[in-house]
């Protein structure tokens, strides 16, 4: 067990952008609380990553692991299994680990198309059609890179997860609140929420935190944000901008709508929503002010990319999980 008697803490990134780590660092002085209450045993961005030391630890000996990033390749999966074994509490931290996030949009494509886009692009000079290989014999010996999987998976599609903390990235005030809670639990002043809960987020929708005025939402057309002068005080959806706030979990304080930009859904489905896209389709459907099928068609044509609109962050975790092309290549 712990050398200094403090419970152990780990944080790891799989297929991710590093923004979750930046969000954690942005809690500023709260980082000291982590240091005071935990022995940080594994956190690549902030300290040396003793992978072998983690392997050597007793199973279950890390109290808390924040895992961000999706499962894109065999290396991501291997680490997910390792940290699951070693951790008492495994948190899917951030949108990628929860629901696949933007990189999950790759699940609409075949891997061969993904590779073509990268290695047969207009600037790529690749007459022999070279593609990266998991194992390759260079003249001096064989060298390896991780194997790219056909679909990107969320953390809980690979290992059991104890808690879910959404957001791209999770907002720093939410991270600070979760750290406060865990510290209180350690001091016996609070109890953990039931396993499987979503933590560090609200229980309602982004709309509930949005200061914009809402009337009866009815629209005759969808408009794109660059095509209108946005009223700074009125609900964006009422102005026809396809704002996802209505289906998205609260927790961010409606940062994007406050800045004049539509919610793009980075906090994932609101509490109790089984499929984010289905919920959003229903919500958008209910604001369309028409009973005429042809007019409804025309109004819906105002959304140029329905698949992306409804599953921008959530495709990998949705009931669909992936597009047909991707499944067929699996």
């Amino acid at each position: 067990m712990s050398t200094n008697g403090k419970p152990k803490f780990a944080m790891y990134w799989a297929a991710s952008c590093g923004g979750c780590e930046i969000a954690v660092l942005n809690i500023h002085e709260k980082i000291l609380d982590v240091d005071a209450n935990f022995e940080v045993v594994f956190w690549p961005v902030a300290m040396d990553a003793k992978y072998k030391d983690v392997e050597a630890m007793e199973d279950g000996s890390i109290l808390l692991t924040l895992f961000n990033g999706g499962i894109r390749n065999d290396e991501n999966e291997e680490i997910a299994h390792l940290l699951r074994r070693k951790s008492k509490i495994l948190v899917a931290f951030g949108s990628c680990a929860n629901e696949g996030c933007i990189p999950g949009l790759a699940n609409f494509s075949r891997p061969s198309d993904i590779f073509d886009a990268a290695y047969a692009s207009i600037t790529t000079d690749n007459p022999e059609g070279i593609r990266p290989q998991p194992s390759y014999a260079v003249p001096e010996g064989e060298i390896h890179i991780p194997k790219f999987y056909p679909v990107l998976r969320t953390l809980d599609q690979v290992v059991p997860v104890d808690y879910y903390m959404p957001g791209c990235p999770p907002e720093s005030h939410q991270i600070a609140a979760v750290i406060d809670l865990v510290v209180q639990v350690l001091q016996g002043k609070a109890t953990l929420p039931p396993p499987g809960s979503t933590i560090g987020a609200g229980g309602s929708t982004v709309c509930d935190d949005c200061p914009r005025t809402r009337n009866v939402k009815t629209i005759k057309k969808f408009v794109r944000i660059q095509d209108i002068v946005v009223d700074p005080n009125l609900c964006l959806l009422e102005q026809g901008v396809p704002c996802n706030g209505i289906a998205t979990r609260s927790g961010c304080n409606a940062l994007c709508p406050k800045a004049g930009a539509q919610c793009i859904g980075c906090y994932g489905p609101a509490e109790g929503v089984l499929d984010y896209g289905a919920r959003l389709i229903t919500a958008f459907g209910s604001v369309i002010d028409s009973k005429d099928p042809e007019e409804i068609e025309r109004i819906l044509d105002g959304i140029p990319d329905p698949a992306g609109q409804f599953y921008r962050f959530n495709l990998a975790a949705s009931l669909l999980r992936a597009g047909k092309a991707s499944w067929e290549s699996n």
Binding site: C17, M47, L105
Partner: protein
């Protein structure tokens, strides 16, 4: 054949790995720097509306989302053939200057600087930001935190969020700033100038005042004579947000400048089967392998290359430092890669001066921050200088503005070939038959690529300034001979 595996951030971290092969004499036979990750942005941006590119491509990198946000927004402007109003451009550049100030500060104090402030052979436990604080004084820790907070505040005021800004759209921005915010930013800008000068003085004192360091910077181990590229304004001064890309030969001759829309005439990319990342090179010169010189298309895109590719800095204090830089290092261009650290600090000062210039522009609080596009969208390229290199976003769309092709040449990617060469040269120079590989020796290899501030998937950043390395030495049959570890 013996084999050394150097895994930054250990074997399974997934963000960069170095294989060193030794020959029978124990000298370096070859090195391979592998990038083990692909996420496929160029594919799944297709089918999405182009105004979402600044929001989706943010997620390439959580350390520099501002760079992707800006390059994508500029490309989307070009797709719609819309020229944003001047206040929108000023605001975007102000956001970007705040970001640069934070990013360069972090690199110097936490990542690259400790090698110099503490010395490359200082004990590992001291060669990090804490060591810097102990040596320079406790107040410096507070100042670094302050610098990060200020930069992020500017990003949030204009970009709406601290990480992954959301306000740039085709034709400008979704919001402006208030007079109160402007005043606050101006104040932060003045503080930033002082902080940048303080940092340059620190560098002067500790590094330039020490002959051993100067010799290290000027030494052959860290020198490569490649082409330099960087974005310049109409007066050929360094600019982070806008302009044309200047290309300068290893001899210092400007062989041309290209507008963003001309980038495919200048840049091509080479593929190797042992890594997921491509190797960009100058198309007009051609790919000749991992070699430097005038006949090889290998170029670099860093603070140093930007200084080499420009005629100077657009702000007075940074210009003074620019002149001093080349007078001390013996004229242009400079090829010693460790000088990237110094060049970065000159850019830090420029970013700070630029914050004040922009925050005091009478138009910065204007409500005229967006122009509604009216043309049919087609195709566009946007280029900004990311801190780690020239960043190019290129989109083609259908008549509805839905992306049909996305091509991205990302900051650090530009430097993949030169970084690989720097690693090879440092390893070849330092690891010789019969020598014992020591920890400071590993650090010297690591310094070869840390100068570039590489950000592969934004993951090689390690805050204490010390990237953990593990060297596994195996004999020809793969048997473990020795394991060397370097930890914080």
């Amino acid at each position: 054949m013996q084999r050394l595996s150097i895994d930054p951030i250990t074997r399974l971290e997934g963000h960069g790995k170095i294989e060193i092969f030794l020959n029978e004499d124990g000298n370096v036979a070859n090195t391979y720097f592998q990038i083990p990750e692909l996420r496929g942005f160029e594919r799944f941006c297709v089918g999405r509306p182009v105004e979402e590119m600044p929001l989706l491509t943010n997620r390439i990198c959580g350390v520099c989302p501002e760079a992707h946000h800006m390059a994508a927004a500029k490309a989307a402007d070009a797709v719609y053939h819309v020229d944003p109003p001047r206040p929108a451009k000023l605001l975007r550049e102000l956001l970007y200057s705040g970001f640069y100030f934070t990013d360069h500060t972090t690199h110097f104090y936490a990542l690259g600087g400790p090698d110099f402030v503490m010395g490359p052979d200082a004990p590992v436990a001291e060669r990090n930001i804490l060591g810097v604080i102990h040596k320079v004084g406790l107040e410096i820790g507070g100042k670094v935190i302050q610098a990060r907070k200020y930069g992020h505040t500017i990003v949030e005021y204009i970009g709406g969020r601290k990480v992954h800004p959301c306000t740039s759209i085709p034709g400008g921005l979704t919001k402006g700033i208030t007079e109160e915010q402007r005043q606050e930013i101006e104040k932060m800008g003045h503080w930033a100038i002082e902080f940048a000068q303080f940092t340059l003085n620190l560098f002067n004192e500790i590094v330039l005042g020490n002959k051993a360091y100067v010799d290290l910077i000027l030494g052959d181990i860290y020198t490569h004579r490649t082409y330099s590229i960087g974005l310049v304004d109409e007066n050929n001064k360094v600019n982070f947000y806008d302009g044309n890309v200047s290309v300068v030969s290893p001899d210092g001759e400007r062989i041309g400048k290209y507008a963003p829309s001309e980038y495919t005439d200048w840049i091509a990319e080479h593929v190797e089967p042992w890594t997921y990342l491509k190797f960009p090179y100058l198309k007009k010169v051609g790919w000749k392998g991992f070699v430097d010189g005038k006949d090889s298309g290998v170029y670099f895109a860093t603070p140093l290359s930007r200084l080499n590719a420009a005629d100077g800095m657009a702000t007075p204090r940074a210009q003074e430092e620019y002149e001093k830089f080349y007078s001390v290092l013996g004229g242009k261009p400079v090829h010693q890669r460790l000088a990237i650290h110094w060049a970065r600090l000159i850019e830090l000062l420029y970013a700070a001066e630029r914050i004040v210039e922009l925050a005091t522009d009478p138009e910065i609080t204007s409500d005229n921050f967006h122009k509604i596009p009216t043309e049919t969208p087609t195709e566009g390229v946007g280029i900004v200088e990311a801190p780690r290199g020239t960043l190019t976003h290129h989109y083609k769309t259908d008549e509805r503005g839905v992306v049909t092709m996305a091509n991205l040449i990302v900051g650090t990617t530009n430097n993949y070939a030169p970084i690989s060469m720097s690693i090879n040269k440092a390893a070849t120079s330092l690891i010789k038959g019969g020598t014992v590989v020591t920890e400071p020796m590993l650090n010297m290899v690591e310094m070869a690529f840390r100068a570039y501030d590489p950000c592969f998937g934004c993951a090689t950043h390690s805050l204490p300034g010390q990237m953990p390395l593990e060297v596994t030495i195996r004999d020809a049959d793969g048997n473990l001979v020795e394991v060397l570890k370097q930890y914080c």
